[in-house]
Symmetry: C2
Subunit: 330 residues, 2 copies
């Protein structure tokens, strides 16, 4: 199924419920998956092979403003106008083509508080903010489910950035993906801290899209990975219900390491780690060995995200001086 | 089944075919697996879940001398007498108990040309050399098959160090393991080079025995790993027949990375890499990306072994100044 056909069917019953404003602005947080999304059953619609579960990063995210302009699209990233040939511009414009009429052009202003393409899911918050802004701009009046589906068409994990807090993306089974959207999990956990350690702001050499596709096609471990996701989802839900940091940490860390492991077994091998990443990973293991309730997760990039409870923030900062601590529920 | 019962049954028909000498000496090469052994179906008899295939390291190995002594065992490693409480001594003595009568004591002199427990399989060459020396010392007259089985009782991969060159360890299915031994593959490949890069001579924190057991028990990826071994064995045999370095290198590297990947998915995670290992791995990938026929493998340790053909030795040495090049067939 084509993206454009799906968009048409979602928007066909949406008559503007309010007057469309001349300009619209929206914010979406980045999210990190505690149970990872790695591998698609549909490349066009970004439909995943497995469900995933994420937590939003509150102040790390994207603010996007949309208005009309004449003659051609103008895309600004962090206040800098991007060249028409920029990869990011091409991706945004292809996405906007799904919604616009002929001779309709946009000025898009995007402010990221996350380094672009450094494994901190800036495309997730970016497409989520854009979809939310478009919803206001056209006064579609869509709810979070439809917005999640539209965001997914821009970038898979963007569907998890429409809502805040813990979010579950059900993989779904439908061919048109109308059952593949993310939903908020109604659990608050104010003590939960995410510590972001930026090791690289460089664009990664292998995109997530390319890395996961190569993994699905060539990694013999992928079959077992899918089974692991099922087990880990059940464990993580239990950890959230009981606010059990050890179970959450162990499940998320093991899931992340397994995702990277599965990618490593692809050919050519897919590896997002840098030597510095491994140094940090081993530091986390050494501290945990000493009894500290500290866990880690990693997305498709070199950076490390720590998982812990607020009580040990000071200790964590001592051992990781560059860490930025985020409390998703504060 | 107990080791001692198995040894009794192997030796029961062996009458000394020659006069036993007062002293015996033997040499065995270390070996590196191109298709890895990772996980046991029997802890006592070191019976593996999967077959494996290795190449011997010629000058890297162990020379062992055996003679009788009075009162207590005396074990020398690299000319230094070891304390009775040393872990290595305890392991050797338990092994010798399988063969000796009451009040029979040995002086064992072991010379390693491989750093002990640094992931270069010194226990493999060590137990293989010891078994070969005992075969002469007692004039058992055992052939390579039985020697391979006896060496396996000391250390699994030791069964692959009885013979030189390419060696296949058939996992077997029998409970007593009498069909689980290593056999020489009758292929010579004089151009094949192994480049050993020693990054650490420290004893590893997690032994192979512990690492593989934890992997089998807790890593969800282990099931797929076993399937990968089957595929890789078939591919590697084809590579040997055609002397195809690209197929050999790709198969061995992917198999090694998958073994480490499977271990990483265990809990607690099992990781033998050091940041420096990853740096070397990425250097290999970068060179291969430039067209060099260079591949790598790693055992349960931080060190890297390169696989390539003699023609590029100079280039390899330029990029890895500390590499030691070994030609198993020269």
């Amino acid at each position: 199924m084509k993206k454009s056909d799906l968009v048409t069917s979602i928007l066909k019953n949406q008559s503007a419920k309010a007057a469309a404003p001349a300009e619209a602005e929206a914010y979406a947080s980045a999210n990190i998956a505690l149970i990872k999304y790695w591998g698609k059953r549909d490349q066009e619609l970004n439909l995943p092979n497995t469900s995933s579960l994420s937590i939003s990063l509150s102040v790390f995210g994207t603010r996007t403003r949309v208005k009309h302009t004449k003659g051609s699209d103008k895309i600004f990233l962090n206040k800098k106008k991007l060249a028409a040939s920029d990869g990011f511009v091409l991706r945004i414009r292809r996405f906007l083509d799904l919604f616009r009429s002929k001779n309709e052009y946009y000025e898009i202003n995007t402010l990221n508080t996350v380094p672009t393409a450094a494994g901190l899911a800036s495309s997730a918050s970016g497409f989520a903010a854009l979809v939310k802004a478009l919803n206001d701009f056209y006064a579609w009046g869509l709810g979070p489910r439809e917005l999640s589906i539209l965001a997914r068409l821009g970038s898979g994990s963007a569907c998890r950035s429409i809502e805040e807090g813990f979010v579950l993306w059900n993989c779904g089974i439908r061919k048109d993906g109308m059952d593949s959207f993310a939903e908020k999990i109604d659990i608050r956990w104010p003590e939960l801290a995410i510590g972001v350690i930026m090791l690289s702001t460089e664009k990664k050499k292998i995109s997530s899209r390319e890395g996961m596709q190569r993994t699905v096609e060539t990694s013999v471990l992928y079959h077992s990975w899918q089974q692991k996701v099922e087990q880990d989802l059940a464990r993580l839900k239990q950890a959230l219900e009981n606010k059990d940091i050890a179970l959450l940490g162990q499940t998320a860390e093991s899931n992340a390491l397994s995702m990277h492991a599965t990618a490593l077994a692809a050919w050519p091998p897919v590896c997002y780690w840098q030597p510095k990443s491994l140094e940090m990973i081993q530091r986390v293991w050494a501290l945990r060995h000493q009894g500290l309730g500290l866990y880690l997760t990693m997305d498709a990039g070199a950076n490390i995200k720590l998982l812990f409870k607020s009580g040990i923030e000071k200790v964590v900062k001592n051992h990781f001086p560059t860490v930025e601590c985020i409390y998703p529920f504060k």
